[in-house]
């Protein structure tokens, strides 16, 4: 399968189902790549796969695609250790890959079911930008006949918050859009903060749309619980110590990375929220404290 075909397949996945998580679309495309791959050895397969992942990261520079790709690579390594013979290995890989895909497509539903019990009747919720997982959680809570109001930040530069507000209005949830700068102002009114994540890092912190860190600091100052909802395939092997540590390839969109010379003049699209500001993480693996996240990653990668 040519790289251009792979990218086209990936884009088609996203076009076909705009609600799908980008990591799931990436893994689906990589599985297709695996099916059509013609390598004769496992090493060759791994090399082709690494190339393919790099190509996908160039198309969509989000952290989720990177973590999905690395997970898939890990999946190949683990399977190839059990079956050294290539053809047998490939069949097992394809079968397990399908199963894996089926499980992770259910992740978002699991997270939604887990989290909505934390939303009490009459709660005021603050969220940031547009997250499909948060939407699912709020959907579940509304279906449970809970009354609550949602405040969404506008989330510049792409005004994603307005899209989120529209989706919430369709669900008949009372919603108000606030300026990004109004987070401190609104924090005293809200009861809890729920945000999604593009990536969950080893320390238990999260990488999310720019403005999340600000919101976390504010909620800590006001003693409000700060919840993060994320599926487990977003766990990524990074350990940033501060904002500068987050690699440039995640901070800016793919086009900007390719065209602009001086990245310092550009606005980053994501920021890093340290684990000390996060109360709990809701994942399809259960409700985790930030310290439990590194445990999960160790279990996988060691």
């Amino acid at each position: 399968m040519e790289e251009a075909e792979l990218v086209e397949y990936f884009r088609a996945q996203i076009r076909g189902d705009p609600d799908v998580a980008s990591a799931v679309a990436a893994i689906r495309s990589l599985l297709e790549f695996l099916r059509r791959d013609q390598s004769e050895t496992i090493l060759g397969l791994r090399e082709n796969m690494t190339q393919a992942i790099r190509r996908l990261e160039e198309t969509d520079s989000s952290v989720a695609v990177s973590s999905g790709g690395e997970l898939f690579l890990r999946f190949i390594s683990l399977t190839s250790l059990e079956h050294p013979d290539l053809s047998q290995c490939k069949n097992v890989m394809i079968e397990r890959g399908e199963l894996f895909l089926k499980k992770i497509s259910l992740s978002r539903g699991k997270v939604g079911k887990l989290c909505h019990t934390f939303i009490k009747d009459g709660a005021k919720i603050l969220t940031h930008s547009s997250s499909r997982v948060v939407l699912k959680v709020l959907e579940n809570a509304a279906a449970d006949n809970k009354r609550f109001t949602v405040y969404v930040t506008e989330s510049q530069p792409d005004s994603a918050g307005k899209r989120m507000a529209q989706k919430l209005r369709k669900l008949n949830i009372p919603v108000m859009v606030v300026l990004d700068a109004a987070v401190g102002y609104i924090m005293e009114k809200v009861d809890l903060v729920i945000v999604g994540a593009e990536g969950v890092v080893e320390s238990g912190g999260v990488i999310n749309k720019i403005g999340t860190y600000q919101m976390a600091v504010c909620s800590k100052a006001h003693n409000k619980p700060f919840y993060v909802v994320a599926e487990s395939f977003k766990f990524v092997r990074l350990y940033p110590l501060n904002q500068q540590d987050v690699p440039d390839r995640f901070k800016y969109t793919a086009d900007i990375l390719k065209t602009v010379k001086d990245l310092n003049q550009e606005h980053p699209m994501i920021d890093y929220t340290p684990p000390s500001l996060i109360t709990l993480l809701f994942t399809d693996l259960g409700v985790l404290t930030p310290s439990a996240v590194s445990d999960e990653l160790i279990k996988l990668y060691l």
Partner: protein, 342 residues
């Protein structure tokens, strides 16, 4: 018929236990410590395993889950009942896995690793029949009972490491675990204890009397004086009713105040809690379980407080000392995730 007799006897015992639980809640029955509740629950579960009719592990788990739901509904604030039920369910799963001879299941939790490597038919119905399963499960429950009996002693044994001579220790209310802990340290060290009386039940008074009988210098203070006295205190040692999954506590009313005062003065807060108090619940909303103190007055009297994990320094349990951030790990070893909801 002997079979029917056994069954009626069994259901009678369960009913008796349930009514005991309900009575304790309203304060009318005998006030029992959570250790006794845990022991009685476990003996009852052992009796159910021995006498109820079941042919495979799945049936037994269903029966125990059903009884567990009834017991927890009878007295929701007594979480040790639910915890013991979950421990027994985990025991059954482990014994079943061992009988099947399966090598995995050391890692029963959902994890990314399992997601990636599972072959598909990992759904276990627990429907296979094993002849020795009953005996194995009963033996494992007996081990659990022995563990329960030794918990207070195990915790007290660690007292000398944490309490030094001429220290001032503060505690609140009455906790049998802390009492034993302090008495054990008093055999070799001399120290002072300040007990906050913990209105409205004022159990602190009984604690103080009991401690002073062992020649420990004790002072009782009203709850309002906690902050004022805190600057003179070296350590705060408390018990708790429940340890939550996020490392927080559900403890007697007034503990949160004590914890905040300790944090303000940077005084270490040590919680002595045996492992059977660990519960998979996570909640940060205030618990309101009201009790009647005066019939004609509308007095809201919450019985329990929530203490967030950031205020706690150390948990001392029968398996040693742990930080609050580690509680999730201990919990994953004690209970299976599918049993969190009975």
């Amino acid at each position: 018929m002997p079979g029917a007799d056994k069954e009626t006897e069994l259901s009678e015992r369960i009913e008796a236990f349930l009514s005991e639980l309900k009575r304790c809640g309203s304060g009318a029955g005998s006030l029992r410590g959570s250790a006794e509740t845990a022991r009685e629950t476990t003996s009852l579960l052992r009796r159910i395993t021995a006498q109820a009719r079941w042919s495979n592990a799945g049936d037994l788990m269903e029966i125990i889950r059903k009884e567990g739901r009834r017991m927890t509904a009878g007295q929701p604030s007594e979480t040790t009942v639910g915890n013991m039920v979950r421990r027994v369910l985990k025991i059954i799963r482990e014994e079943y896995a061992r009988s099947r001879g399966s090598t995995e299941e050391a890692d029963q939790q959902e994890s990314l690793h399992k997601l990636l490597t599972s072959g598909g038919s990992s759904e276990d119905n627990f429907r296979q029949h094993f002849t020795h399963l009953k005996a194995n499960v009963i033996e494992a429950i007996n081990e659990l009972l022995t563990e329960l009996e030794g918990t207070t002693d195990n915790i007290s044994m660690q007292a000398l490491e944490h309490i030094h001579s001429n220290e001032v220790i503060m505690t609140i209310g009455r906790s049998r675990t802390v009492e034993a802990f302090l008495k054990d340290a008093a055999r070799k060290r001399k120290f002072h204890v300040i007990v906050a009386e913990c209105a409205p039940f004022c159990q602190g008074h009984e604690m103080a009397t009991s401690l002073s009988k062992e020649d420990i210098e004790t002072t009782v203070i009203p709850d309002a004086a906690i902050f004022a006295v805190m600057s003179r205190v070296n350590k705060v040692i408390i018990g708790t009713q429940t340890v939550l999954a996020n490392g927080g506590l559900r403890a007697v009313n007034g503990t949160h105040t004590l914890a905040l005062a300790a944090k303000h003065h940077s005084t270490p807060l040590i919680v002595c809690a045996p492992m059977f108090k660990l519960s998979p619940q996570v909640s940060d909303t205030p618990f309101t379980r009201f009790s009647e103190i005066l019939s004609k007055v509308n007095a809201h009297c919450p019985v329990f407080d929530y203490v967030p994990p950031e205020l706690i320094t150390l948990f001392i349990s029968n398996i040693g000392g742990n930080a609050p951030s580690y509680i999730y790990r201990l919990m994953s070893e004690l209970y299976h995730p599918e049993d969190h909801e009975l």
